[in-house]
């Protein structure tokens, strides 16, 4: 009980005894003085119940003094003529002490129970709070809020920053800074040691810094600072604080373990993807190589003994497979370059017709006699793009269309301007792709479920996406309602194409006219 509470208790005792004395003054003409003692006894019991032992004893002493002075003959003196009054006084004192002690004990018990209840309730709330937090910083934010509220202090939490220092994760920054507070936080983190009153108090440190540790591992530091002038934490609150920090430390550990498990999972998946990729790539590299080596050794060993047709077949195999190998290595290199993230898009204003034209020229051997219709919007302006890279986009998309549509079916290329973007479409009349594969088609090494029969490693479209995105554009795939696939590329046109002044109209050609 606080000091002011005690003073109130004694004042209350005096008041109650005063009221009793007034009542006695009214009654004493009608009753025996021994009856008045009962009245005083009652007031002592009331004081004991209401204010505890001290005020009760004070009330007993005061009652004895007043009763003796006012009502014990000879009245208005403290002398006692009849000895049995001395017994009365003793009884009043004993009653005061016993009831006061008993009630004080009962009240103490009740207060303790109440406190425990509050603490259990807030622990319960905190643990409930923490259970639903997924990350360390969320856990700390919840804990800092709850602990600050319950204890009536400013609170903050710090996490290690990975460079031997700490970083504020939640709460009031002024609690953990500046020096020497910050040094205390670092020290608590490094040495897993609580700092600040009532633990070790380094000079100048005002707060309390508690490591949130499980075993020897400190996951975070909880820092508290009581308001100016508040008393230090009592054992009750320290115990509560300990319970809070243990709970929070466990929640943090749970987060850390979850994160670790997730990281391990990711690593395992990446490892699996890498080995799948390695086996796929080495298979795809070896296949053409095997054909080349086989054909070359056949040519070497047969000497001049081969039929011209067989010889031509072998030579053709070598040339074709070498070409395929070269494309594959080119794609792998391009993918690596795109993934290295080096910005190497050199945009200039280009004629799309020219870029498409050179892509188709490069593809002539593959396309054979397949028809490719090119439908460009009339007066298509120059487009800002990197011609070397964009040529690859067109080339890969047309190559793809060629690979996945039956012979004789035409490929169509359309281009127009739409909302300030170039919209380029490559359409084929092949089988299209399975529903739901739209996005996955652009993942590297992903091969459409209908692609198994065609050669390839699944890099062409990934490269297209990489290049288009490096241009700030988008690429998407869709099945056409009439059958076949449609790939749509959009590239933003930023700025106006540079002007090229018109020349004077046609110069008549010198010399004879025809």
């Amino acid at each position: 009980m606080s000091r002011s509470g005690k003073r109130t208790g004694y004042a209350g005792s005096v008041a109650i005894v005063g009221v009793t004395t007034l009542a006695a003054a009214v009654l004493h003409t009608h009753v025996e003085p021994s009856d008045l003692t009962m009245l005083y006894l009652l007031s002592v019991v009331i004081c004991a119940i209401a204010f505890g032992r001290g005020p009760a004893v004070a009330a007993a002493l005061l009652s004895v003094a007043l009763f003796d002075f006012l009502y014990v003959p000879p009245r208005f003196t403290f002398r006692v003529s009849e000895s049995h009054y001395l017994v009365t006084f003793a009884v009043m004192l004993v009653v005061a002490v016993v009831t006061g002690t008993l009630t004080a004990h009962v009240r103490d018990q009740r207060e303790k129970v109440l406190l425990r209840e509050t603490r259990l309730a807030s622990l319960h709330r905190l643990s409930h709070d923490l259970a639903v937090r997924g990350s360390a910083s969320e856990v700390l934010a919840a804990a800092v809020g709850r602990i600050g509220d319950v204890l009536g202090v400013s609170a903050a939490a710090s996490l290690p920053d990975g460079r031997g220092g700490v970083t504020l994760a939640a709460g009031d920054a002024s609690v953990v800074g500046p020096e020497p507070e910050r040094a205390a936080v670092v020290s608590a983190m490094l040495h897993a040691r609580a700092l600040g009153a009532p633990y070790g108090v380094p000079a100048g440190v005002r707060g309390v810094h508690l490591p949130l540790a499980t075993g020897a591992r400190v996951n975070a530091v909880l820092s508290l600072r009581a308001p100016e002038g508040a008393p230090p934490f009592d054992s009750e609150r320290l115990e509560m604080l300990r319970a809070f920090t243990n709970l929070t430390a466990l929640a943090l550990e749970r987060c850390r373990l979850t994160d670790e498990a997730r990281a391990v999972q990711t690593r395992v998946e990446a490892e699996q993807a890498r080995s799948a990729l390695l086996s796929s790539v080495s298979h795809d590299l070896r296949t053409p190589l095997a054909a080349i080596a086989g054909a070359a050794s056949a040519l070497r060993d047969a000497g001049g003994g081969l039929e011209p047709d067989a010889r031509r077949e072998l030579v053709e195999t070598i040339a074709q497979e070498a070409h395929r190998l070269n494309r594959l290595i080119g794609n792998l290199l391009e993918m690596t370059r795109l993934e290295s993230g080096a910005p190497r898009v050199r945009k200039e204003w280009h004629s799309l017709e020219e870029v498409i034209g050179s892509s188709l020229t490069l593809l002539e051997p593959e396309l054979g006699d397949r028809r490719v219709r090119v439908a460009l919007a009339p007066a298509l302006p120059l487009i800002p793009l990197d011609d070397v890279l964009f040529e690859q986009v067109v080339r890969n998309l047309v190559e793809n269309a060629n690979k996945y549509s039956p012979p004789g079916k035409p490929i169509e290329i359309r281009a127009s301007i739409e909302d300030g973007n170039l919209r380029l479409e490559i359409l084929d009349e092949g089988a299209g792709f399975a529903a739901g594969e739209e996005a996955r088609l652009f993942e590297k090494f992903y091969r459409g479920s209908r692609a198994a029969a065609a050669p390839g490693v699944g890099l062409g479209l990934a490269i297209c996406r990489g290049i288009v995105e490096a241009h700030g554009g988008t690429i998407e795939a869709a099945n056409r309602p009439e059958g076949g696939a449609r790939f749509t590329v959009r590239v933003p046109i930023e700025g106006a194409p540079p002007a090229v002044e018109d020349e004077p109209p046609v110069e008549p050609i010198a010399g004879d006219s025809v």
Partner: protein, 246 residues
């Protein structure tokens, strides 16, 4: 392609086989070049480093030089510049993939043409032939009529006909076409074309070239979207296709 051996090596006025200097550190490349070129009637001199290449270029008087850009000792571009200080021998550069900037630098630095590894023998022979022909023409009076398939350019009369019909060209289109035609078969860089047609102040105005090339193709190519004559060398420049020996 089965060009008779004599046709290629005949360019040497003496009638002796043309000498090709191969500067490449890769044994496999040199071996395949020797086999391929000797069967075409060329005589081969090999150098395995830049310094050796420069020395050989001075001593063995090659008719054409095949220069790899990735040499172990000095940069191929430096070799090119040093040879060009005193020699006009045609140089065809051999480059690895995706090095457009290197190609442009080599061409602007005096190389006649390039082939990208891996290249085919016919491709290389075509580039070498153009270089040799160009060299053979130097000193002779320039032709006044250039024929390229259905296209005929009469330089004296400033008249361009396509399959007999006159094609109206603006002065810039005409200059662009004749520049390409005079170097038919050779790749010309953007910078070179802009300097020749528009003047030295325009060498970075690449979009001029794109606009006028499109106009020219519209007038000359049957299908401007799939050009057969005015070919794009993406990232490098343009080349007029070589349709017959001029």
């Amino acid at each position: 392609m089965a060009t008779p051996a004599a046709a290629d090596s005949e360019t040497r006025t003496s009638g002796a086989p043309a000498v090709v200097l191969v500067v490449d550190d890769e044994h496999a490349i040199r071996r395949f070049l020797r086999a391929g070129l000797e069967s075409q009637g060329y005589r081969i001199v090999e150098a395995t480093s830049g310094e050796e290449g420069i020395a050989q270029a001075a001593t063995c008087a090659p008719d054409v030089i095949l220069l790899d850009l990735g040499l172990p000792d000095i940069d191929g571009l430096a070799v090119l510049r040093r040879i060009r200080e005193w020699s006009q021998t045609p140089i065809v550069v051999l480059t690895a993939r995706e090095q457009e900037r290197d190609k442009v630098e080599a061409l602007d630095g005096g190389a006649d043409d390039y082939v990208t590894k891996p290249f085919s023998m016919p491709e290389l022979l075509a580039r070498m032939r153009v270089g040799l022909r160009h060299r053979a023409r130097v000193g002779r009076e320039a032709a006044t009529v250039i024929d390229s398939g259905p296209l005929r350019i009469d330089l004296a009369k400033r008249r361009v006909t396509l399959g007999g019909a006159v094609v109206s060209l603006t002065p810039i289109e005409y200059r662009l076409l004749t520049t390409l035609a005079r170097h038919a078969g050779r790749v010309l860089t953007h910078k070179f074309l802009l300097g020749e047609v528009w003047g030295p102040a325009y060498t970075s105005q690449h979009h001029y070239l794109r606009v006028y090339m499109a106009q020219l193709r519209n007038k000359i190519e049957p299908d401007p979207g799939r050009p057969r004559l005015l070919m794009t060398e993406t990232g490098v420049g343009y080349r007029m296709a070589e349709t017959e020996d001029a």
